[in-house]
Symmetry: C2
Subunit: 312 residues, 2 copies
Amino acid sequence: MLFEFSTPIQKLDWKGCDANIYVKRDDLIGFSFGGNKVRIAAQYLEDMRAKGCDCMIAYGSTRSNMCRVAANMCCGENIPCYVVTALSEGEELKDTFNSIMVDCFGARIRYCRKDNVAGTISELIEELKAKGYRPYYIFGDIYGKGNEDTAARAYEKAYKEILDFEKESGVSFDGIFLASGTGMTQGGLIRGQKKHGGNARITGISISREREPGIKAVAGYAAEPAENIDFNDEYRLGGYAQYDDEVRLVINDMMKYHGIPMDTTYTGKAFAGMLKWLKKYGSSYKNVLFIHTGGTPLFFDGIDVLKKQKTL
Amino acid sequence: MLFEFSTPIQKLDWKGCDANIYVKRDDLIGFSFGGNKVRIAAQYLEDMRAKGCDCMIAYGSTRSNMCRVAANMCCGENIPCYVVTALSEGEELKDTFNSIMVDCFGARIRYCRKDNVAGTISELIEELKAKGYRPYYIFGDIYGKGNEDTAARAYEKAYKEILDFEKESGVSFDGIFLASGTGMTQGGLIRGQKKHGGNARITGISISREREPGIKAVAGYAAEPAENIDFNDEYRLGGYAQYDDEVRLVINDMMKYHGIPMDTTYTGKAFAGMLKWLKKYGSSYKNVLFIHTGGTPLFFDGIDVLKKQKTL
């Protein structure tokens, strides 16, 4: 069912940045609107089978691309899928294209309070076991630990595509940037570099976590000590799903001048952060690569961010 | 600015059809959500420049992928763009993601009655000339004739990718199918086959026109006599933008089991038509290729078509 190919790397003619910016178009992976989570969910599915499990549990917000992709893959293979979504106290439940699709793909959604995720996962696992299922929680144990290797494998492999591009094109990247949320994509890239070589500094632009927990999360996936992780929390704008006018501007410019959709929660926010990072720290950088980790449904949720271009 | 690559051809594990179905994923072209109109608009832009014009006029409905792509390309290159949209008498104007983006890309939209398209185009051309512009109407003269060669060039070229796939994979297509609307994509493929060879029968599944005007339109782009055009109008379901439960079913199955978005106006409707065509006429067909001509924004407009999958 799954459809993978090596995704293209595109040079952007981006104004106002001294470095050459390249984009790895993982948003063009041809399953469920693509994105990093397609590569990662494929690893989970493989691991689930290897472990003899028959029922998947994913966890994420209503905006989660992972939950959409996991639910879509499970639907395609007739595997029961459960999605646990935590809400903050008083948070109003708001549908997104991702959450609508999770529901349409037949995943059962269970809501819980943010301080009761482990308890909810634990209850769900027991319920499913009592029904005769062998449930597989993508993140590992009920506290979300223990399955880092599986997730990290996806971008350990994908990193090879970046190296291949460098060899074929003669372009050498000084830095690789991406939206860093769970840490699994960045962790995987770091593993890939350790395994396959290469010199680019891999910097995660935090879209949610503060420095300390952020580094800890990436380090877990990278299987590296914290001091080896480049993780920047200066552009998190107060936390998950928060954004500002510079993020809006990036999304407008990216769509209008390059025909590339981005979103306020992950890619647009991280790209805007990367531009500020480069101004502040990147004067020596000549070539940088931004990993477009997908999220097309979120672009359509946020269509109001697009503003009318002044006509000539 | 434009980003093109040879798009992948994917074998679908599609139930309930005797032939092997392959899909050419032109929806994965990495500019403005891809689709056939990216290839075609790129040809228009090149032709416009060659003719020394400096201002583009497109024509299409509020659902038009062509209008979105043309407006996006023009925006990216600072070219003034006008979009003429005809409304039937009493038709209520309803925004789509495509029409919202056309507006955001700074294109000026002019509405007209369906019986006054030529008059409106003519007026607009005169107005622009009076302002010192050299306008370029993508379809040619005010009656929409005369620029068939430019549009057809896009799929004359793309056809080569299909032949290359056949050579590399050893798969030989008995039929190539696609949504046939304006006729420019089908016409281009027919030219490509004449130029490069190959044996597949190229059948347009009409999503709008009846047989006679449909064949005439394709023949114009193909530069072939009408008798050489395979154009089927049995699955047009009453006309443009009309669809039925079988179209809904295709869209559900395609997204849920294959992770591929389709829409009710073009791709989903044509794919459903192809399946019926194959049942009726295609018993000798072993391998068929469906061209996925894009339209991701239309998938999101029609998200209500997705129905909740029964959980296991």
